[in-house]
Symmetry: C2
Subunit: 210 residues, 2 copies
Amino acid sequence: MAPWGKRLAGVRGVLLDISGVLYDSGAGGGTAIAGSVEAVARLKRSRLKVRFCTNESQKSRAELVGQLRRLGFDISEGEVTAPAPAACQILKERGLRPYLLIHDGVRSEFDQIDTSNPNCVVIADAGESFSYQNMNNAFQVLMELENPVLISLGKGRYYKETSGLMLDVGPYMKALEYACGIKAEVVGKPSPEFFKSALQAIGVEAHQAQ
Amino acid sequence: MAPWGKRLAGVRGVLLDISGVLYDSGAGGGTAIAGSVEAVARLKRSRLKVRFCTNESQKSRAELVGQLRRLGFDISEGEVTAPAPAACQILKERGLRPYLLIHDGVRSEFDQIDTSNPNCVVIADAGESFSYQNMNNAFQVLMELENPVLISLGKGRYYKETSGLMLDVGPYMKALEYACGIKAEVVGKPSPEFFKSALQAIGVEAHQAQ
């Protein structure tokens, strides 16, 4: 592998993941991954632009940032690109009223969204809220629509908590896709639009980013 | 369409589905579909062999047959081919000890099966038992195996209850397939082996069946 100096030639900005990179989530707020607090601090002292780009969708950005700050990270809400605000923009642009199959922790991000008489489903990493009843509600909403729209915040298979591996949103997105014979629209990584919006926020082109 | 006499030339046996064909399941035991009680009675009075071939996996055969008899059907347990007994045979043959992600109603079919220290997962139409916790348990069992084996009792997308459409086992099978990067083995319809075993039970060849 090339030395760091060479690899960073032409690089102006860095996108950092959060869960599993800066910290492992879990009971009591999770734990910082060794060296990551200092690594973020060094990046911020450097000439590089830094943005945090996460698929975290169990928590609002406010809650996530609060948790990371308590673990010692220098991070603010305005530095975070996350799927829920990106989804809200899409919902508003297209006049969509979602049935929200999401974790209660992220519900506040959708405060300004009309959820009456749903004409789409938004699915996120809902954890314990992935009950049969809630999945069936989402399924029934989709089956009653002429053109079913399913928006998924990420499509991760699983993630690691301090207590072990946990199912992420992806498997449940696949379940609804199969049940209804449809294809979800993924908001968040690995969608190119999502990465682009994160880079735009720091004024960096794709070829200048690491 | 050819008249019935012509269509039935050479036919010696009939396989009948149960849910959605003979009755719609639901609260209070469900309801018989109009004409189906009499149709079964007529088939049984005819020269044709009859076998019931179902993917029902929320109930034991005993419970299912009891329910159908109360609705007026002439049916006995020995006339039913169902996925749970077929799965038990596979488990025994291959020395598999399942984690059972199933409805409590069908658990008695697995009474003779060793479920200690699981080395596979059996998934069926579990209804309310498709909790996040139970799905995650099944996922964790599979992820700890060198060669993960997932056996699915059917792969239906959904079924109709008197109260509306309900998610079947298929979507949850797809969820675990995606989470673990594996392919399930389906026991039940539409697997050819399953139909063959139903035909064997009445001594009829595939080309003689309707």
